[in-house]
């Protein structure tokens, strides 16, 4: 009961602040999860990979996958309700009013301040996952075995194969309109040979 209730409340809270889509929720999910000893950041990366692989909104997928990982099927259900219900209510209740307010200078000013913050937080989500999975600045226990790790002065700077994959993914997404699922599948095949 305790865990399910915590999951539900966490996603209700995240939902109300998940401006700009699902990825902005990642840092909060990692934090709450580590504070409650539910799952490590590396395990959460699996959840996010699966969320990106499945069709549909990343926020919902991540919530359902996270809930399942933490508390099995009931966890998935409460996380889904936590992320879906408030959003739907906000949309229906607020949207009609918001339609009129949307072009108001103050609303636009607030959004102008909010969007760069979202950009910064999502950027942080990417960097922190890279660190926690040992792609950059790996701690001893997160060092990627079978990778090309570059170390200087006792600090694990980066793992070359991972960084090439990150750069390739980013560039392919900018240059083409390929669906992320194909990149994830291709990486899976590559992984068998790379590591």
């Amino acid at each position: 009961m305790g865990v399910l209730f915590k999951l539900f409340i966490m996603f209700v809270k995240l939902c109300a602040f998940a401006f700009g889509g699902g990825y902005v929720m990642i840092p909060s999910m990692v934090k709450v999860s580590e504070a409650n000893h539910w799952a490590s950041a590396a395990e959460l990366t699996d959840v996010i990979a699966i969320a990106g692989m499945a069709p549909g909104p990343v926020a919902v997928n991540a919530a359902v996958g996270f809930g399942y990982r933490v508390a099995g099927f009931p966890g998935a259900v409460v996380s889904f309700l936590g992320i879906a219900i408030p959003c739907a209510v906000i949309v229906i209740v607020v949207a009609t009013f918001f339609f009129k307010a949307y072009n108001h200078p103050l609303v636009q000013a607030a959004l102008n301040g909010l969007r760069p913050v979202i950009t910064g937080i999502i950027l942080y989500a990417a960097v922190s996952l890279a660190i926690k999975n040992g792609m950059i600045l790996a701690a001893g226990n997160t060092l990627i075995t079978g990778g090309w790790n570059i170390t200087a002065a006792g600090v694990n700077l980066l793992e070359v194969k991972s960084l090439i994959l990150i750069a390739a993914t980013f560039l392919i997404l900018i240059k083409t309109k390929i669906q992320p699922i194909f990149l994830i599948l291709a990486a899976g095949v590559l992984g068998v040979f790379l590591y």
């Binding site: 401006f19 889509g21 000013a109």
Partner: protein, 182 residues
Amino acid sequence: MAFFKLGAVSFGGGYAIIPLIEQEVVENKKWLEREKIIDIFSVAQALPGAIAINASTFVGYSVAGIPGAIAALLGNVTPSVVTVMTLSVLFTRISGYPAVKSIFKAIYPVVVGLILYAAYKIGKTAINNLASVVIAAAAFAASLFLHLDPIPLIIAGIVCGLVVHWIKTLNCIKEKKKGREL
């Protein structure tokens, strides 16, 4: 029913679904006009929550009231929830094998790349002047070094946006005054 189909085809999050909703609702079903739907999308992106959910719920509501909203929401999320559950169950079964571990070693960087791309896409519309560069860098640094939670950062961002607006307005008034004095 239409949203069930949309949910199933929209891989990779909210932005991918938008052109599909537009085609289905405006061209195939003729439920709404194109201008209306573009307004809906800009509002859906500005409100918190999953963009695809916001957009489809709102379209459903505009077309058929609250029942429409519920149908659109369920249709939009059912296929993805079922897929995520299946993948999660499957993954829990196979995650112990060494081959699966090497596969995921290569998938993790792709996930990082996907998130970077999400930041890039939002950044393209968000970062357009010096103030927004400073705000974005501050949010990034505050998360990384101070381990601040996103929620207070988002609230701080809203306050910053309003303050920047206020300063601009003050400057405008000053310049108008100067103009009059000259």
